[in-house]
């Protein structure tokens, strides 16, 4: 009886050993190990990025609406979108909003990064506090801005009026043009710290020797920036701009809270309009088609900028 048990244990052990060896051998193979390590990431990407994207693509080719699976309609939803004047306006608005918000974020972010790169008292506290707009949830900060721009109770109007600067209230959100610039302002306020901190990190990798050498050669502050700082900071800048363009072009929360796309659809972005059609009106196919118009634009931006970065690397 005891001998039989011992033999059984031995068989069990050797089988276990063989299994462990196979696993060890497998993991020793670089390809297999790489695949194993990548698998969770790929699974998450497939589940949360690829699957919704493919579903959106499929939805955009069908007449699906809430509670009705619909049928295949080819490119009809895309054609309808192209003929939709509200969408045309939303597309133009999105380009305008992205362009100006990115320009301001880059210019002000760079300026702030250069200032923060200097030595001054309470440097760390100020650097940390600068991130506040970026840390506060967008919905909350957008609500605060909405109150500041309120047509009746705007604190800014109150201050300007009582300061004798204006005699009538400024139409922050009640004029289409004003509302769009207000949205650009809030986006800039929210996104600038990201630019500043990232560019600051880039600035700190630039050796002070280069600036000293340029200064010894007689270069002024502007020339040192343009011929030393800017070229060395360009790769970081391009990456930040790519991220910013992607986030701003697909922005939703800020406009949804601040203006709801109004007045008279003047501030609708592609994302807010797609939401209104797809989720609000239940026209899921049309909403998906509208949102997919963002894809080629963003893909082109990313491709051009990454290609430029690659060329710089090989140069």
């Amino acid at each position: 009886m005891g001998r039989g048990r011992a033999v059984q244990d031995l068989h069990h052990l050797s089988a276990e050993h063989a299994r462990v060896s196979r696993l060890t051998r497998l993991l020793e193979s670089e390809k297999a190990l790489a695949a194993a390590l990548l698998a969770p990431g790929v699974a998450i990407l497939a589940l949360f990025i690829a699957y919704p994207f493919v579903m959106a693509l499929w939805y955009s080719l069908t007449s699906i609406r809430v509670g009705d699976a619909g049928h295949f309609v080819g490119l009809a939803n895309f054609t309808k979108a192209l003929n939709d004047t509200i969408f045309q306006q939303a597309f133009k608005n999105t380009v305008f909003y992205t362009f100006w918000a990115t320009v301001f974020k880059l210019a002000l972010g760079m300026w702030l990064a250069l200032l923060l790169n200097r030595h001054f008292r309470f440097k760390r506290v100020i650097r940390a506090s600068m991130l506040l707009p970026f840390i506060i949830p967008t919905v909350l900060s957008a609500f605060a801005w909405r109150w500041m721009f309120d047509p009746t109770f705007s604190v800014m109007n109150w201050m300007l009026y009582h300061g004798g600067v204006i005699t009538d209230r400024l139409p922050f959100l009640s004029s289409g043009d004003w509302a769009m610039w207000c949205a650009v302002l809030v986006n800039t306020w929210r996104g600038m710290p990201f630019f500043a901190i990232t560019l600051l990190a880039g600035l700190q990798t630039i050796s002070p020797d280069l600036h000293e050498a340029a200064a010894l050669d007689g270069a002024g502050a502007w020339h040192r920036f343009w011929h030393v700082t800017w070229p060395l900071l360009l790769p970081v800048t391009l990456v930040v701009v790519v991220f910013s363009v992607i986030q701003t072009f697909s922005d939703f929360q800020l406009i949804y809270v601040l203006t709801g796309g109004g007045p008279a659809n003047s501030t609708h972005l592609i994302a807010t309009y797609a939401y209104q059609i797809g989720v609000g009106s239940g026209l899921l196919g049309e909403g998906a088609a509208l949102s997919l118009f963002m894809f080629p634009v963003l893909f082109a931006v990313v491709w051009i900028q990454l290609r430029y970065l690659k060329r710089m690397d090989t140069a």
């Binding site: 139409p171 709801g260 008279a264």
Partner: protein
């Protein structure tokens, strides 16, 4: 004392999970008779309090139903409904405004028996409310209440500019509004992208000038002389008489502006009056009197084609995906009983009224005072719905949700387009909806 190790915990919880999965049944606590009701944040907060503090314990006692009330911003209700229907899970009952039951018709359980029962017991459901909830002859949702929209105005301020009674026509209202704006007391009206106060103003304005979205067969008729006249009128009225910040208002801005004394009149439910009534020390007139004593209500003025009003309908849809359809219908049946529904309607003080005729005779109307008296019969007087002269169907819901009629006025008032261009634009947008 035996130690409860991590290993034991994992073994126990795995066994429990395996048991649940093998039984194909939810655990006992989730099978209880719970009804999840999704509604808006009521403009009369006391009404939500009644649902939480009176309805919930009483329905628990009467039927053993646990009422789980969730309230959200009204503008977000369609998004929640869409997400719930597509995912096949969510609240058992969802509050749907106006013509949304037509948009979500396939997701609603037939509540015809309940509607018949309530209609018979309470003097008949108003025909417009029935049209909003019946799709293809089937009751896909249950009418709950109507929120009459009337103009709340400051009686003393109107008196001061010579308007001893509320203007009967749009032209008279324009003339009075011009004087009020000159006295820094403009009329407040939202023309923003918002669900309630904007369409309840713009649709009746369109109708009162003879405009209409479509004919009875659904052919778009918007580009007409009547529509153009209404847009031209509104453009001038806006400039002369209104607070032009209204282009950016949502449904709550006019309440705040009125209560703070920034505007003299606005189209609204009774919520402004109710708020002033509930806080007489907070909201006062320039003479220090309680503000509610200076608030009167009136239907919208008449145009060449008469006077029209639109009152926001609130409907409850029992969702097909619900695992507790029976409980949800039982809850609604219990809630619609006179002795229960009146507890909710009484605190509304006319902001929301019943959808059946007998509620006009309720004793509460003897106590509300003359200012709220017009709310008693306002809902009964409604004849037109969005999508007029066609059906209040999916197309009408889409047009409402895209704010096309409201934007038509907003574009002209903001100077973004001429009246002619804006009418043409709106007719084109409607055609795209009605021809697909």
């Amino acid at each position: 004392m035996a130690r409860f190790t991590r290993r034991k915990f994992l073994q126990a919880s795995s066994a429990g999970l395996a048991g649940i999965l093998a039984s194909h049944r939810a655990p006992v606590f989730a099978q209880a008779n719970t009804v999840h009701l999704l509604r808006w944040n009521d403009f009369v907060p006391a009404a939500d309090k009644v649902l939480r503090e009176v309805f919930a314990p009483e329905v628990q006692k009467a039927l053993g139903i646990t009422l789980n009330l969730e309230t959200i911003n009204a503008n977000d209700l369609p998004a929640r409904a869409t997400a719930a229907i597509q995912s096949g899970s969510g609240p058992d009952i969802i509050l749907l405004l106006n013509n949304y039951p037509h948009l979500y018709a396939s997701a609603g359980v037939d509540v015809g028996a309940l509607a018949d029962e309530v209609g018979k017991a309470q003097g008949g459901i108003y025909p417009p409310a029935a049209r909003l909830n019946r799709v293809g002859g089937k009751w896909v949702s249950m009418p709950w209440s109507l929120v009459p929209a009337l103009i709340a105005y400051r009686k003393s301020w109107f008196d001061e500019v010579g308007a001893k009674s509320f203007p009967k026509t749009w032209q008279e209202y324009h003339a009075v509004g011009k004087k009020l704006k000159a006295a820094k007391r403009p009329i407040g009206q939202t023309l923003g992208n918002t669900f309630g106060d904007a369409p309840t103003f713009t649709y009746p304005l369109l109708w009162s000038f003879g405009g209409q979205e479509v004919d009875a067969k659904g052919k778009v008729m918007l580009n007409s002389k009547g529509t153009l006249a209404s847009v031209k009128f509104m453009t001038q009225f806006w400039k002369d008489a209104c607070d032009e910040g209204g282009l950016a208002w949502d449904d709550s801005n006019n309440n705040r502006s009125f209560l703070s004394g920034d505007i003299s009149a606005t189209l609204n439910g009774a919520s402004i009056y109710v708020a002033a009534l509930n806080a007489p020390d907070k909201f006062k007139t320039d003479k220090g009197e309680p503000l509610h004593t200076d608030i009167q209500h009136s239907p919208l003025p008449a145009g060449p084609n008469g006077s029209h009003n639109y009152h926001t309908a609130h409907n409850h849809m029992v969702m097909k995906y619900s695992k507790n359809q029976k409980g949800a219908i039982e809850f609604l049946r219990w809630a619609h009983r006179k002795e229960n529904l009146e507890k909710w309607l009484v605190v509304q003080k006319g902001y929301a009224v019943g959808t059946a005729r007998n509620w006009e005779k309720h004793p509460m109307w003897n106590d509300v005072g003359p200012s709220l008296a017009p709310f008693k019969v306002a809902a009964a007087g409604q004849s037109r719905l969005m999508g007029h002269a066609g059906e209040p169907n999916q197309k009408a819901a889409e047009a409402w949700n895209k704010y096309i009629i409201t934007v038509m006025y907003a574009q002209a008032c903001s100077g973004k387009m001429s009246a002619e261009e804006s009418v043409k634009w709106a007719a084109g947008e409607l055609s795209k909806i009605y021809t697909t």
